[in-house]
């Protein structure tokens, strides 16, 4: 069940900072531990930067979840960029087509409980991450 939602734009590096602050607020409200807050914020920062750098910008949807007494936060990053031709390769540590270290996707997957990625070449990429309290 989704109890609260919001959507933020990702169009500049300042937006990435605002997204990090929003994730901090949402995870603190959910009562996440400091380490869990930090993991979710870091994963969000990586994925927002990916959406900006590789997808030419996009948006992130925040959803507060409740499932059989557990509460969590789900973030969905969506861009309308060129898409990822080989998702398997993109999820490998150290693989990058840009200037980064190639840890954005693979690293953020390790920081969350659930990770889903869907990408269509020419249409864009959608990454969904969930962390439960």
């Amino acid at each position: 069940m989704t109890s609260k939602t919001d959507t933020l734009e990702v169009h500049s590096s300042t937006d990435i900072v605002l997204i990090r602050q929003a994730v901090r607020k949402w995870t603190a409200e959910l009562g996440f531990s400091l380490v869990d807050q930090t993991k979710m914020i870091t994963a969000a920062s990586e994925l927002a930067r990916n959406a900006l750098e590789y997808g030419g910008g996009g948006e992130v949807r925040f959803e507060q979840l409740e499932k059989s007494g557990r509460r969590g936060l789900r973030l969905t990053f969506e861009d309308h960029g060129p898409g990822i031709p080989d998702i398997e390769q993109a999820l490998t540590d150290g693989f990058t087509t840009g200037q980064g270290m190639g840890l954005g996707l693979s690293g953020s997957r390790r920081l969350v409980n659930e990770f889903e990625i869907a990408s269509t070449v020419g249409e864009g990429t959608r990454v969904t991450i969930t962390r439960w309290k």
Partner: protein, 131 residues
């Protein structure tokens, strides 16, 4: 324009990062710091990140780059004050910051810089930086 201040402390430069780093600020900071090292002949750089509540791969790469640039300019870099939650997250992210020296706080970082530069407190200190 927003900038990260770089302070002099004897033969070293001290940087305390207190703002939420966005990408452009990081690039300006790298330019400022390398320029200062080269101009002052600083022997070491201490970067205090105790105010940062998160470090992602972009910032991690920036820190590693600064350490590398400083080394080439003959200055050691020590990163101090990383919060435990940040350290846990960085390692899970896959970024263990190889090649970056760290210390728990500014005081221990200073000791490390002095020791690695063969400098001692007091009279024997290398003295002030050149202008």
């Amino acid at each position: 324009m927003e900038r990260i201040p770089i302070l002099r402390m004897g033969p070293f430069l001290l940087v305390t990062i207190q703002v939420d780093l966005h990408d452009r600020l990081v690039v300006t900071f790298q330019d400022d710091l390398t320029e200062q090292i080269s101009r002052t002949g600083a022997r070491g750089v201490l970067i205090d990140i105790s105010a940062l509540d998160m470090v992602d791969s972009f910032m991690g790469r920036m820190i590693a780059n600064i350490a590398g640039m400083s080394r080439i300019l003959d200055a050691e870099t020590v990163v101090v004050g990383m919060r435990p939650a940040v350290a846990i997250t960085l390692v899970e992210l896959g970024l263990a910051l190889p090649g970056v020296r760290t210390a728990l706080d500014v005081e221990k970082g200073m000791e490390l810089l002095r020791a690695s530069r063969g400098l001692r407190l007091g009279k024997e200190e290398d003295g002030d930086l050149e202008d």
